[in-house]
Amino acid sequence: MVTIFGVPAAALYGQLLVGLINGSFYALLSLGLAVIFGMLNVINVAHGAMYMLGAFAAWFLLHMFGISYWWALGLAPIAVALVGVVIERTTLRRVAHLDHLYGFLLTLGLAMVIEGLFRYWYGSSGQPYAIPSALAGGIKLPFMFLPIYRVWVVVVSLVVCLATWLVIERTHIGAHLRAATENAVLSQAFGLNVPLLVTLTYAGGVALAGLAGVLAAPIYQVSPLMGSNLIIVVFAVVVVGGMGSILGSIVTGYLLGIVEGMTRVYYPEASSIVIFVIMVVVLMLRPAGLFGREKDSAANASPPIGATQATGMDDKWAAIGALGVVAALIAAPALVYPVFLMKLMCFALFAAAFNLLIGFVGLLSFGHAAFFGSGAYIAAYAAKVWHLDPLLCVLAGTATGAVLGLLFGALAIRRSGIYFAMITLALAQMVYFIALQAPFTGGEDGIQDVPRGMLFGVLDLQHPVAMYGFVMAVFVVGMAVLWRVVRSPFGQVLKAIRENEARAISLGYDVQRFKLKAFVISAALAGAAGGTKALVFQLASLTDVTWQMSGDVVLMTLMGGIGTMLGPVVGAAVVVSLENALAGLEFPITVLIGAIFIACVLLFRRGIVGEVQQWFARLSRVSN
C-alpha cells in the first residue's frame, strides 16, 4: 500500500476531501459574514442558525411537500433570505446607530431563540436527509473512492463563492454595494437607497448560509445544533482571513478546511483546535488577518458601550448600598434556600468581574467561561486529588484564571471592538475542547464529588452555615477588589480608554498595558468565582466552559446594567432565579434567555440598575 509520511494514501486523500468539504462550508459562511460585516458593521452570530434553517428548510420541503433536493437548492436559500429580511427590518435596523457590540449581542439572542425553538421541536438528534439519487454513489479512482455528492458540494460552493465575488467586484449593483459599504452617508447623497441595500445585503449573506445548509443536509444530519458548533470555527476563520477582503475570506475558508483535514490525518487529537491555534499564530504575526486591512475601531464614531451610564453614586450612598447588600446576605438564608444564594453570589462575582472589562474599559470578552470554568476545574482537582485547604483551592482557581487571562489578554488586546469578542470566543472554545479531551477533567462527566474540605484544617465546610460564610467572604472580598480598582487612579485611566482610546494614548498612557492588567484582574476574579462554585456544587463540569456560559454572564451584566457596580449582582440574581424557576419545565431556557437578550438590546440598554440610576438622577435634577 502507498503511504505518505507513514499514512496510507487513501486515508490522506479521504481526509483531504473531508477537509475540502468543511472548507466549502467555511468559505460560504465566512463570505456571508464578511459581506454583512462590511455593510452593516455587524458580526452576524445568527449565521449558524441561518445555516441550520437552510438545512431544515430542505428537510421540510422534502418530507412535508415531497419537493426534491434540486428545488430546495433554490427555495431554501430564498426562505432563509426572507427570514433575514424580517430580522434586518425589525431588529438590526434599530441598533445600526449603536456600538456594533450591540449588533453582536442582538444576533446572539436571535441565534439562541431560533436554535432553542428547533431543539424544542425536533430534539438534539439529527434527521437524516438522503443524497439525491443523481448524485449518489461514487467513482472508484486508482487511489481512493470518490463520492460524487462530495465533489458536487465542493464544485457548487466554489462556483457560488466566485459568482458572489464577481457580482460584488464587477457589476453595477456590486458597485452600489461597495460604495455604500465605503461611505453610506455619501452614497445616499447620490441617490442610492442605502436602507434597501442594507436589507438586501443581509438577506443575501444569510442566503449563502442557507445554501450551505442545504448542501450540508445530506452529508451531516439535519440537526438544530449543526450551526452553533460551526459558527465559532467560522469566527476563527474570519479572524484569520481578516474581513476586509471578499476573496480573502473565500480563500481562507478553503485553506483552513484543508489544514484541518490534514491535521486529522497526522495528529487527530489536535484537529478540533488547529484552526484556533492558527488564529493565535496569525494574531501574533499579523493582527489584521492574512488579507485584512486595519480599520476596525478607529472609524467607529458611535458612543462606546457602557458609556451611556450615569456617572455613579457618591460615597455615602455607596457605603449604605454595600452595607445593605451584606446585611441582606446575612439575613437571606432565613428566607431563601442557601445553596441558591451561594450560586447567586458565585455568578454575581463572575458577572461583576466581567463587567470590569465591558463596563469600564469597553471591551466585550466573549470567552469569560474559559476563566470561570478552568478556575472550577483546577479548584475541584486541587480539592479532590491534592486535598488542599478550600481557601487554597479557590486561590488556585484564581491563579488559573489570572494566568489564562494573561495569555488570552496578550493576544486579544491586539484587536479591539468586535474582533476582540470573536478572538476571546475562539480562545475560550479552545479551552472547551481541551477540557473535553484532557485526562484530568473527566471529559463529559466532569470532576464529581468534590470534597468541600476543612477550612484552615478546623472549620468543616460540609456544614451549610460555614460554607455560606465562606462563599460570602469570597464574594465580599472579590467585590471590594473590584470597587477599589474602579475607584482608583488606575480605574480612571480605564474609563478614559473606554471614552476615547486615542486621546488616552496621546496623554501618554500605555493603553495596552492598562487593558491587559484589567483583563488579568477580571479573569482572576472569574477564576475565583468558578473555584468557589466548584466547591459549592462539589462539581466542575463542561457546562462551566461552554460558550453559553460566556453568553449567560454577558446577559447578566447587560440586564443588570453595564458599567454599574450593582448591576451585575442584580442581573445575576434575576438570571439565576429564572434558571431555577424554569429548571423543571420542558421548555428550553435558551429561548427565554435569548428573548431577554433581544429585549435588553432593543429596549433596556441601560439595564435594571442603569434605568433606576437614570430615574433617580432625573428626580434629583427636578428637585434641584
Binding site: 458597485a175 461611505n183 452614497s187 445616499q188 447623497a189 447620490f190 441617490g191 436602507p195
Partner: protein, 236 residues
C-alpha cells in the same frame, strides 16, 4: 428676486450636530438658472448648509423647498432624486470604485442629463483612466470626476462645496471654465467658496455667512462698493 418664484428656497433653517447648534436660521432664495456663491470663514456654516439640504445633516428644522417640493420630509436618498447634484467637500470619490464606476454611480434622475460621450469630451482624462481606482487620480482629476458624475444624472441644481480647494491655479482655471459652461447651459448652481475672487467671476449674487446665519447678500455687480465690508467678514 421674488421668494415665491425661487427654485431653491431655504427659510429659517436650523441645524445641529448632536448637541451643538450650527445653523441658526439660514434664509436664501435661488432662482432658476441663477448661480450664487456662499462665502464665509471656516466654521461659518457654509458646508453645513449644503449638508442640511442634502439630508446628511439629519437634525434640522425650517424650510427647504426645491421647486415647491418639501425636502426636509424626504429620506436622504430621495433628496438627490428630486434633481440635485452634490459635489461634497473633499470630492467624495469612492476608492473602492473605478473611475468609470464612480461616474456611473449617482442615480439617473431625469432625461436631460449629459450623455457620456459629451462628458468624456468635457473631461478627456476621465475616459483614459476609466479603469483605475477612483482615488488614484490626481486632485484635479478627482474634482473633475466629482463634477462629471453629477452632470450625467439630469440634475438641474448643482451644489458645489469648495470645488477649488487645494488645487493648482491652472486647474482652478479649468474648473472655473467648466462651471462657466454649466452656467451657460442653464444649470442652477450654489457654490460654496473660500476664494471669493473665483466665486465673484461666476456668481450672480454673493451670500456671506457668519455664525450659522446669512450676514449679508449682494449682487456681484456691487462687489467693488462692498469690498471693505467683505474684507471685514472674511478677514482674519
Amino acid at each position: 428676486m421674488a421668494a415665491a418664484a425661487a427654485f431653491l428656497d431655504i427659510g429659517d433653517l436650523h441645524g445641529w450636530y448632536g448637541e451643538s447648534h450650527v445653523l441658526h436660521g439660514v434664509t436664501m432664495a435661488v432662482g432658476k438658472g441663477e448661480t450664487i456663491a456662499i462665502l464665509g470663514r471656516n466654521g461659518a456654516g457654509k458646508t453645513s448648509t449644503l449638508r442640511a439640504v442634502m439630508g446628511i445633516l439629519r437634525k434640522r428644522r425650517g424650510v427647504v423647498r426645491l421647486d415647491g417640493a418639501d425636502l426636509l420630509a424626504l429620506p436622504p436618498y430621495r433628496i438627490p432624486r428630486m434633481g440635485i447634484g452634490y459635489v461634497p467637500e473633499e470630492r467624495g470619490i469612492f476608492s473602492s470604485l473605478t473611475v468609470e464606476e464612480n461616474l456611473l454611480l449617482p442615480k439617473q434622475v431625469a432625461e436631460q442629463g449629459l450623455p457620456l460621450d459629451e462628458i468624456h469630451a468635457l473631461f478627456p482624462n476621465l475616459h483614459e483612466r476609466r479603469n483605475s481606482s477612483g482615488t488614484k487620480l490626481s486632485g484635479g482629476e478627482q474634482q473633475m470626476l466629482a463634477i462629471a458624475r453629477i452632470l450625467r444624472t439630469g440634475a438641474r441644481l448643482l451644489l458645489l462645496d469648495e470645488p477649488t480647494e487645494g488645487l493648482a491655479p491652472v486647474i482652478v482655471q479649468r474648473i472655473g471654465a467648466v462651471i462657466g459652461t454649466l452656467k451657460a447651459r442653464g444649470y442652477t448652481i450654489v457654490l460654496v467658496e473660500q476664494n471669493f475672487r473665483f466665486a465673484a467671476r461666476l456668481a450672480d449674487r454673493l451670500y456671506v455667512m457668519e455664525n450659522g446665519q446669512i450676514a449679508d447678500v449682494f449682487a456681484t455687480s456691487e462687489l467693488d462698493a462692498r469690498m471693505s465690508s467683505l474684507h471685514t467678514y472674511l478677514g482674519v
